[in-house]
Amino acid sequence: MNLQKLLRLVWQSIRRSKRDFLFSSVGIIIGISTLLFFTSLGTGIKETVLERVFVVRQLEVIKKTYDVGAFQSEGLFGAKKLDDSLIEKLQKVEGVRSVYPKMKLTFPTGAFGGKQLIGKDVRGELVADGLPAELITEEEVDPTLEVVFKDYEAISCKQKSDCPTAYTCGDKGVCVGEPCEARRGEESEACEGAAYCHADRKQCMIPIPVVASPKMLEIYNGSIHTALSGSSGALSKLPKLSKKALVGFEANALFGRSFFLGDSAGGKQDVRRVRLVGFSDKAIDLGATFPIGYVKRLNAIHSGREEAGKEYHAVVVETESNDVTASVAQQIEEMGFALSDKFENAQRASLLILLITVIFNLISAIILAVAAVNIMHTFLMLILERRRELGLLRALGATRAQIRMLVLSEATALGLIGGSLGIGVGFLATRLVDSIFQSQVQDFPFKPETLFGFAPWMFFMCLGAALFFCWIGALLPAIRASRIDPAAALTGR
């Protein structure tokens, strides 16, 4: 019996038992829609939590420390250093996609500014770190901006044309700012483009480019903005902020002096303008991230120790996929280093999401199993009702295998129709829940645009599950149908 004939027979059977097929497909539709709903929900939440909140693919390697009472110690001989040789080693670990160092400012730093944003300057502490400029992608910082994320004070040159506007080629083969005269807070016409006149140094300088973490924006828009709306004064009128609105924002960094921590050990102080050029997940969670060259130089100058510009505070290892993260983490720990709490949090979150997804998918599986039992029951009833029909088909030349094939094909049709409808219903349910979520739930940090994440494999999985459970349900009836004795069936014995 070829496929065309089989399909014709199946169609005739479905036409005959429309109500039974509809009844059987209800369970499959509910089961498959639930399966799609919870699988996509699990994936959606996973994407939000593990890609945005706790980035599980990014391991932050830090020095190993030991708890000694209320303090932490690096041990008797000190912890292993985080330097360039470690970066080389980590790059060779299997499963590692990229490795980049992070260096924090190791001296007190303050900041002031904000007039262009809120109408008056505010003062505060500046927490900052640095990472290699090449790690910031074009999606994170628009390369057409006047100031981009690069170290403008480490540009090698042979002539002036190698340098940016308002810079000239210095004696050491590095670009330096053109001389200028201006008082603090005043602009000088001598400095063109994005450069400003540094009053103390009397030379043009391009603001230090910084990137910020999108999490800060999430926290501001999701929590701080709501809290500020009830405050008095100008802050209560602050709008929600977008990345686009913030790019180009400038403030002043006061290196070597903090409003709370006092002066740096090096004793030197310097006021530099900083400009936000973009947002990146690689940036420090709360603070500003500079190109690492600036941090190295600033640490060497203001910390009072030459080595402060050579040792990293953390090394970030980005793995190829979430699956290999645990193995990479283990290898790093075996090398004598520790991982920051972020990894543990990410692992916990990952486990929790997996657990919840598994529980809900188990519920879907139970629904499908019940549907399979229902299908078995319906099919057994149908086989009983169709005993004479099947006996007749045997008399007219059908083999046992063809009868089995016929019943299983009917189950296949049921699976495909029920599965497709289930996918449709499940998808509509996700749209409905998303729409309710967006309209009824107030903003909160990291509030996702959608709760659900879809991938093509989910649809195939749902269709596969529908077919599997229909086949399971129809297997016994198919075997029974094929064993019908045609003589007995036709004579009513």
């Binding site: 019996m1 004939k5 014709r8 005739q12 004479r388 030349g397 045609p486 003589a487």
Partner: protein, 248 residues
């Protein structure tokens, strides 16, 4: 296609509950014969028909159809034999209620590996239905047909693959006498004009008298096997397309 039955025994149950249905039956049927198997209810005539038709394989003895010893054929070969060489007509018609006359007649094509295209198969079914006088009922469902019309559809279905033998189990049992006779005339014509062997089970003497040979069974034992001179067929012909008119 000749049929040979030798030492055929069939029983139901085991041990003390064992009931013999057929005992040491032996006879032969030559191609083109019209044989009536007669007997009272429970005499084993339907069981004998089912065994010869390859529907029942649980027996002892030898039954061969043409060169084929039925017991030696595997399930596939037997199914193919039923599909290609046999036709079946039952007392209860056994039409599928959800299919039209045309679809019912063409069911055998689903199990015939060498079957023609669907359009040709439907053309064949249409031709057969016209032949049995149902040219106007091609798209009617069984519920829209009278008993006689249903049996004509069943006969057309039995003829679909040009069988060499048609097995009929009480083909007029559910019909009134007049309609039953019209169906039997159709059988006589098929036997005479097409040379198809007919083996018909009946418990009615006047129906058996239409066959060329009558085999009588009593309690599973063959008690007589005699030639018969059938009545002359009625004037109605198959080719006139009309068939006998009857109440619906």
């Amino acid at each position: 296609m000749n049929i040979r039955v030798e030492g055929l025994q069939k029983s139901y149950g085991k041990g003390e509950l064992r009931t013999s249905v057929l005992e040491d039956i032996a006879f032969g049927i030559d191609p083109g014969e019209f044989v009536a198997i007669m007997g009272t209810s429970g005499s084993g005539k339907t069981t004998l028909l089912n065994i010869m038709g390859g529907l029942d394989r649980d027996y002892r003895g030898h039954v061969s159809v043409g060169p084929n010893e039925l017991a030696k054929l595997d399930e596939k070969q037997l199914a193919r034999l039923r599909n290609a060489k046999f036709g079946f007509v039952f007392q209860q018609f056994h039409l599928l209620d959800h299919l039209t006359s045309l679809e019912n007649v063409s069911i055998p094509r689903f199990f015939d590996a060498d079957a023609a295209e669907e359009s040709q198969a439907l053309a064949r079914a249409r031709e057969l239905l016209t032949t049995v006088g149902l040219g106007e009922k091609l798209d009617s469902y069984p519920s829209e047909l009278s008993g006689g019309q249903k049996q004509r559809v069943a006969i057309a279905r039995a003829l679909f693959n040009c069988p060499e033998v048609i097995f009929c189990d009480e083909p007029t049992g559910s019909l009134d006498r007049s309609t039953g006779l019209q169906i039997l005339e159709l059988f006589q014509r098929l036997n005479r004009d097409e040379g198809i062997s007919l083996i018909m089970v009946t418990h009615e003497e006047h129906i058996a008298r239409l066959a060329t040979r009558i085999i009588r069974l009593e309690d599973g034992v063959l008690v007589s096997d005699e030639a018969n001179t059938p009545k002359k067929p009625a004037a109605t012909t198959l080719e006139d397309g009309a068939g006998p008119q009857e109440e619906e």
